[in-house]
Subunit: 130 residues, 2 copies
DNA sequence: GCGCTATAATTGACTACGCAAGCAATCGTA
DNA sequence: TACGATTGCTTGCGTAGTCAATTATAGCGC
């Protein structure tokens, strides 16, 4: 399923999730540390992940006026459209995977239980300003 | 949690699972291919995993009389006792992780749903004989 | 203002895996 | 019974990630 994502759109599952988080973030940009938290990666992992996404132009880097230590990861136009393309087939794949195995009611149950796991819905979108 | 396992007993989660599957297998031995299936690794992954476990003496290799292509992975005495040690704390950790978040009834629900996922209970313990 | 400590990011060295290729042994078929 | 196809395993190489060390900046106490 993530293999399909990679074959059809050239995105690993983490590439995809990184773009997704950026697309949901304010102004399509996030501090690298925060992105690390959401992807369950270390900061160095994020550096390397973004290296790739920057090289292919899906993400670009920007700096923060009020804290010169931070560099933002910013979703580009290309990144946003690649994400849209990939989303369609990926969401469909995930949906059909679960719908093939569970009823609607069971899906609700499952979602209710699973969201209690740590970080299931982590989403602190801190800004850089103090 | 798997970090704890590694720190306290020097076993990665895959080391642990490999020992566990071997301990449950007939005569404590399995073909490497079968082990690969259970661990969701490729055969080369298993080769490398077992390299480590053989080096530390937790597993040894044996050959199959009826098919000279296969080499068994065999749990040693050392391996069995390391597994026993590690199991105690690991099972306790897993249990308390879930019990902290879910009621008994919810755990039953969750188990019922999750076991319908692919490979949730895969366990083909083929022998080498034809 | 001046140290001191904490934080954001990067880099080098390493690990764990997958993939593709290769070898040896076995099986299927005629 | 000879030979092509398949199966079990290993190895070389590439990739994705971690950890530890490093650099640059921020913010605190005084």
């Amino acid at each position: 399923m993530s293999a399909q994502l990679e074959l059809e759109h050239g995105l690993t599952i983490n590439d995809y999730e990184a773009l997704l988080h950026l697309s949901r973030a304010d102004e399509g940009r996030m501090r690298r540390v925060d992105l690390a938290g959401m992807l369950l990666l270390t900061p160095s992992g994020v550096t390397r992940l973004l290296d790739g996404l920057e090289k292919t132009g899906l993400v670009e880097r920007g700096s923060c006026a009020s804290d010169r230590r931070v560099t933002y990861a910013i979703l580009t136009e290309d990144g946003a459209s690649r994400l849209r393309e990939a989303s369609e087939s990926h969401i469909a794949a995930v949906r059909s995977f679960f719908e093939a195995r569970f009823s609607d009611q069971e899906l609700d149950q499952l979602a209710g239980l699973l969201e209690r796991l740590p970080d299931a819905g982590a989403g602190s979108s801190e800004d850089c300003s103090p």
